[in-house]
Every structure is written in C-alpha cells, then in structure tokens.
Amino acid sequence: MVGAPPVNGSVGAPPVAPPSPPPQAPPAAPPQITCPNCTGPNPAGSAVCQWCGSNLSGPVAKPAPAGESVEDLQRKEKQLKREVVGSTIMAVATEGATAGETAGKAAQLKQTEEALKEAKKRESEAESRKNSAESKLATASTGPLTPKKLFAQPAMVFVISLVLFLYLRYIKMNSIANWVLISGLISIIIGIIFKEPKKGLLFLLVPLLIGFLNMMNLVTPANSIIVVGFVSMLILLTFEKTREFVNKVLNVGVYVAGGVLIFWLSAWAQVQIGVSYPHIVTTTLMIAYFSFVLFKKEKPAIKFSAIVVNILFFFVIFTMPTIIAPQDSAFYNSVESQRAAWVDMLSGVGLMGKEIYKGAQMQYYTAIGDYESGVEAEQQKPLGVFLDNIGISSKMVQVTDSINAFGTLRVESFKTAQPVDVSVRCYVKDRENVEGSISPTAKFSVEQYESQDIDCIFPEAGDVGVGPQVIDFEASFSFTTSAYLKSYFMEQSRIRDLRRQENPVAVFTGGPLMIGLGAGQQPVALLDKSQPGFGSGPTLGITFDKNWLEGELLNVTRLNISVPSGLTVNDVDGRKICPDKSQNCVLEGDALKRLFGKPIVLPKTIRVHTGISDPALVLSNAPMAIQSFKVGVEYVYVIRKGVEVIVTGVSS
C-alpha cells in the first residue's frame, strides 16, 4: 500500500490517514508539476494528479496537509477569511474581473475549515489513544496481574506491618502497634478485593496519623475513628466506581447534617486545643450553615431532611444534654459550654428586649409628665450583689442521690454606713416550698468587696421531682437609695425678666433602685403674700424604677421625703399622710403599702405637693437660694439565678 496512488479520492478531500510520502522524482526527470493536493510529482501538462486524482489545470485550492496542527490550521483559516473578504471587495470594485480568483479562495477556505474539523477530531482521538497506551505501558512494566503479583505485594506489606508491630510493642507503643497491624491487614484485604494491592497501601496512613496524634497527646477513641474514617474515604475516592458515590454521599451529608457536624467539630476542636474559644465562632459558622441551607437550590426532600435533622439535633442538645456524650467528659463539657453560651445569648437578647421596652416606656411616661429622671452618682464604679458561677456538681442524678448546686455570692463596692445583710435561699423553681439547705450559712453581713462561696443541698433528689428541674438561688437584701435634687428659688417678681436657669437633674446613689426627682421649671418662684396662690410650693415628682437589669423590688420599708427649709410637705399623691406642716415626711408600714401597692409595679411615680411657709427662710436674705430636695428609700431587693438538674429514676 505504501506509495500506491489512491484509488478513490475526491478533489480537496483530506486524506483520512496520515498521507503516505509521495515517490521521490529522479533528478534528471522532465519538467514536472507538483500536485497542490498531495504534493505528488506529475508530468508537466497533466490535467489530473496521478497520485490523488486532483484537478491540476484550474486554480485548485491547496488542501490543508494532514500533518498540520490545529493551531496552524486555525491561523490559516483566519488568513484565508481575510483574503476572501479582500478579494470579494476587489471583485466588486473591478466589476467581476477577479471573480474567479475570489471563488478559488472561497473553495480553499472551505477545505481549510473541513481540514480543521478533521484535525480536531484526530487530536482528540490521539489523546484518548495516548491515555490508553500509557495505561497499557504501565501494566506492561509491572506485567500482568498474576496471582503471584497479587499476593506478593500484600505479603510484603504484611511482613513490614508485622515487623513494625513487634518493634512498637517492644518499645511499649502498644496502641500504635495495634493500629499498624490492623491497617496492614485492612490494606491487604482491600488490595485483594479491588485487585489493586497498591491502593490498599493507603491504609498505612492510619498508623502514621495516629502516631502524629500520639505525639500531640491527642489519641482518643473518637480521634481514632475520625482518622480511620478519613483514610477510608480517601481510599474509596481512588476507585472510579466508588468516587462518584462517595462524592454524592459527602455532598448530601454535609448539606443535611452540616449544622450537626459544625457543632460537633467545634466542640471537638475545643476539647483538643484545651481552650474554650469564643462561642461566637461556632455561632457564626452555624448561622452561615443555616443561610446556606436556606438559600441553596436543592431538592425539596433533601432540604426538608436538612431542616428536620438539625431541628431534632438541637432539640436533643437543649432538652437532654446528657445524651450527647458521657457526663463530665471533655466533649460533654465542651458541648455543654456551647449550649450554655447560647442560652446566655438568648437571655441577653431577652434582656436587650426588656431594655428597649423599658426605654420606650420611659419615653412614654416622660412625654405624659409621669416620669422623673436622675443620674446615678459614681456610676462608673461596679456596684451590686451578684450570683456568679452558678453550677451543679452532677447534672444528672438518681432520685436517691443528693443534689448539690453551688455558686458565688459577690458584693461589690457598697457605700453604706451600715453593712448590707444578704439572705440566701435556694428552692425548686415555681415551688418555693421545696427548699434546699444553704451551706455554710444563709445569712451574710457584707461591707465592701466581698465574695462568698455558697452551696445548696437537697439531700434527696426525689423531693425535687423526677425529670428536668431548675434550682433557683435567691439573694435578698435590704438597701437604701437616696436622691438629691438641687433647686433654685427666687421671688416671682425677680424671675420675670431674668434669664431662666437650666433645670437641674436629680442625683441618686448607686444601688438596684433608681430614684428620679423633678420640681418643675427652675428657678422655683416664691410668691408674695399679696399674690394669688401664695403658700403653695413646687410639686416634687418622685419616680422609682429599676436601676439593675436583674432582680426585682420586693418591698419598700421606709420612705423619707425632705424639702428645703421654709417649705412643707402637704400631701403625697393627694393623701394627707405626712405630719402637718413638716419639712420631713417619713412613711412606713400601711401608708407605704397603700402608696406602692402589692406587687410593686415599676416604674412608679408619686407626686408630693409642697407648701411655702416662709419665703424669707427659703431665700435667707439673698436674691436667689440654692436648696435641695432629698428622698431616701429603704427597700428589699431580690436577685435570682437558676441551674438545671435532671433527676432520673422512679420517685417513691
């Protein structure tokens, strides 16, 4: 066949196979012409090519040689396109004089395009042939997978594993020794099953990774399982048959159980690094995951599964935390701390909501003139009674066991003349009659900066009740808050044309209760005897509100209202409950109960109507006087904090 002229062939048709080299012309041969199609030599004057049968007489388009690369052909095609366009323009310009040349170039372009198509096809076939050949070459180099070869490599692996196993045992690294042997055996089995013993060797990564974990002191059953799972996945990914399946499983798994995985991995990471990193990291990841679930286009069934799985998981985490890991294990503690952080976060959101509500309420009351504000003195100093680190020694107890809850009572920077007496109680939430005993003592007398550890013991958990229960710690204490309002007094006749003073703001001493005071527009006008309304003084508005976010006002035991010299307290909220024409009014007992009601709803504003008995005394021989209204209130305040316990077993 080599060198034989083709029997069939159409003009311009590119050869299917690489063209055979045309015969070499003898040196003394008569003048010849070369076929533009196959480059074969032809006697001069031949009309048809003796090699490929192409027409030699006319302007024959030179077919693209089969040996030309795709890039060359593309370049050529581009060039021809330009030429055809140019030639067409010329033909138009010369009124058809160059039409023949244009037609020839167009035919040449067509041939080039076809050649390009063929070349592309050839290239892709060659690529696949090359891959196949490489594969065969690789097989040829190792030889066919004979039973001998199939078992020779595993046997080698086995021998190496055995030697390593024995050595590691000898140097007392038993755990890794076991893993070496297990991995070796599994790699042999995988190699034989899939008839690719080399891939089985990947399993030997297991002892390496476990060795690394061991070096980092991180070998735990969970970590070992994770390593084995990881390597198994790696092996499965190397097989074409399983790759797609593993990919799908991984994709769906991550989509459906991503939230669970993030939560577990976060807890696991915290256990491993031994540091409780900010919970906001996990929270952010979880939010990102849920956004992904919500916005990714996925089959409804998978989306639904993802939502159900996550809801179920977090329901379990929040209701039965002990189900996730053995109690007091590092993993349990880690998960529990994340859970607690979320609970705190939710409480924080709740408190924020309360604050917003309180702000709006304050604005409303201020707008209707039923709220007086005040500024806390030395508010930058921490002040208060706090129940910190509330916890429980055992989250899950049997009915016959005892419950031991604990916490720290902290008192910060109280500035009172008398020490503060704090009473601590603990009881089952919403069942105050089921009380635990407080140790070491339930009553503390605290001055400044004191901290005391307290324990609450229920000798028998059955008394508390079976199931999840909340043990509330309660610290109540008596406290006094005072408030002062500076006021400017001036005769009415002087005020008229003098510039008005800015209304001063009341100052109240720190504590759980806020006292706001207001005495109307300043300066306060003192009327002359001849003027109508003489004798009536300013109305003092007193607002009581919570100054701390936590806790509640339990009871008001004493209220002392003091007005400047020359003024008297006439009535409180229209009730004549103060001694007649007195500068000080002290309210206690029933009078207070009637004034505040039960339970006390805050904010509470009362209005004290005053009278002016002696304007000269107010002014004390000056054109203007600065005097203060004073209010002191003694009350009982209570703060609570709870801890959860799960009582198991059957109650008697």
Partner: protein, 305 residues
C-alpha cells in the same frame, strides 16, 4: 538722557525724606476707640480658686473683676450665693465695689479682685462626691452713650436738587462700650400740616451676657430685699443740641431688638437738607453673674465633719 535720570533720582529721594528719614514727620498712633464693645463688668473666678475640695475643707475663691465698658461703676452691689447646707460662707457674702470704666487715660478699664471663703459641712449620705455651684452676682448701674450721623431732609416731595445727604437707616455695629447698645437708627420724615416732623426709630438690644434691670433697683437686685425687677431702660436723645421727645423708659424685649420712637420739632418743608449727629443716652441697671462649680470629695473612711 543722563540729566533726565539724575532729575528722576533727585525727585525720588525728595519723596522719601519726610517719612523715612529721622528728621521726618512722626506717625501719630490712633486713639483707642473707647465707645466700642458690648461688655460692662467682666466677672470671672480666678484659676487659683479652689474648685475641688475635700469634705470638711475650707475653700478660698477669688473673683476677678474688670470694667470693660466705657461707663464708670460706682456703688455696685455683689453677693456670693451657695448651697449653704454644704458650702457655708465664712466671709460676709455681700458687699459693694466701684470700678472705673475705659477712658483715654485708662483704655483697659479698672480691675479689682474679691476674695471669699467657704467651708464644706459634709456630704449627703452614701455619696463620695458632690458638686454644688457657687454663684457670684454683681448688680450695678450702667450707661450707654451712642451717637449716629443722620440726615434730615424736610423736602419729602424731593423737589430740590443737589442735597447734601439722603435719608437712610444708620447701622451701629460693635456696640458703644456697654452691654445695651443702639444697633440701628432709622430717620423718618413725617409730614405734619405744612411742616415736616423728623422722627427717629432707635433700635436697642442687650448684647451682653448679663440681665438688664431698672436703674432704680440696680443695687437692690443683689440683696435679699423685696424688689420687683424689670428690664427697663431710661432713654434720653438729643439732636443739634435739642432734646428729642422720647419715652422716659422702655422695657426691653427679652429676645431681639426693642424699637423706640423719638420725635424732633417740626421743620418747614422748604428748609434745607442737612446732616446732624443724634446722641442717645441709655441708663439702666445690669446684673453680671459668674458660676464656679465646687466639687466636694470625701477621702476614704472619712468621718463626718
């Protein structure tokens, strides 16, 4: 050509002689403008005053006084006001002082310093610190003298030509060396039978930091005596030596300008247009106030005073 250059140089040299050579004319400094500014008494607590004291401690305070206006202050009353429950005065809290105003001989005005002692009498219960103001108040008589060049034109029909001036409002900015200032004068030519009556709208405003009170009660305002205060100003105006017909006293608007109308004797409508000086004199009382917040702090474990 050389001659021309020489001549030019000579001329230039001659030009420089009077002003730049030692034997030339000396420049005379302009006289300070006494009748400008909007201040009267300037009172401020001296920076050496004790504004931070410990509980039960004595505080010495000093008030710097300066008469930055053009009128003299004589027999001015002052008083220190404090929250006596916590800051009890140790000195007499009221008194009298006088201060010379700005003049050509004393262009800065008179200065003086007052001292005052107080003592803290304890803090309210549960408080570690407390702030209470100490107020200094001075009440005195003051005077504003303003003059404005105005145009009087009885020819309201505008029949004459070549008038020396034209009737238009005159603005007086920057004050007249007193807190109450004449800010604007608007001449108005009002026909009255065959004559024309020049009327002047004088706009007055309190441009100072203090409060205006009537002149009669000026000193009483700083005492505890019963007195009715109002921001009234006594007014007197004259033009070409003749006193104008003005209200005796005017109550100033709390905000903005107060308009006062003064009228002159009627002029013949054939009289010539002329320019003249309007002189306005305002007499009133003024209250200047300075406040020093005194902070009282308790030392840890300090016992009551």
């Amino acid at each position: 050509m050389r001659k021309v250059l020489f001549l030019l140089l000579f001329l230039v040299a001659c030009q420089m002689v009077p002003s730049q050579l030692p034997f030339g004319k000396q420049q005379v400094k302009a006289l300070p403008n006494i009748l400008s500014g909007t201040s009267a008494l300037q009172a401020s607590f001296n920076k050496n005053s004790m504004s931070n004291i410990y509980m039960c401690q004595q505080a010495n305070v000093f008030v710097d006084l300066k008469n930055a206006g053009a009128s003299n202050i004589s027999g001015a009353a002052y008083i220190f006001i404090s929250e006596e429950q916590y800051l009890k005065p140790l000195d007499k809290k009221s008194g009298v002082f006088s201060l010379e105003g700005k003049s050509l001989y004393n262009p800065n005005g008179g200065i003086a310093q007052l001292s005052f002692k107080l003592e803290n009498k304890g803090l309210p219960p549960q408080l570690e610190s407390y702030s209470s103001p100490l107020i200094f108040q001075a009440c005195y008589k003051y005077q504003t003298v303003a003059n404005a060049q105005i145009c009087i034109d009885p020819d309201i029909s505008n029949l004459k030509r070549g008038k020396v001036c034209s009737v238009q409002p005159v603005s007086l900015s920057g004050g007249q060396g007193a807190p109450v200032a004449v800010v604007r004068v608007e001449p108005l030519m009002v026909p009255e039978k065959d004559k024309v009556k020049p009327m002047l709208a004088v706009y007055v405003k309190n441009l100072g930091d203090g409060a205006v009170i009537s002149q009669e009660n000026a000193e009483l305002a700083c005492s505890g005596k019963k007195v009715t205060l109002s921001s009234t100003v006594a007014l007197r105006a004259e033009m070409f030596g003749v006193e104008l017909d003005c209200p005796d006293s005017v109550r100033l608007e709390p905000q903005g300008e107060t308009r006062i109308i003064c009228s002159s004797t009627a002029l013949s409508s054939s009289a010539d247009t002329f320019s003249t000086v309007l002189l306005v004199q305002l007499d009133y009382g003024y209250v200047t106030t300075a406040v020093l917040p005194v902070s009282i702090n308790a030392i840890a474990e300090q016992k009551p005073c």
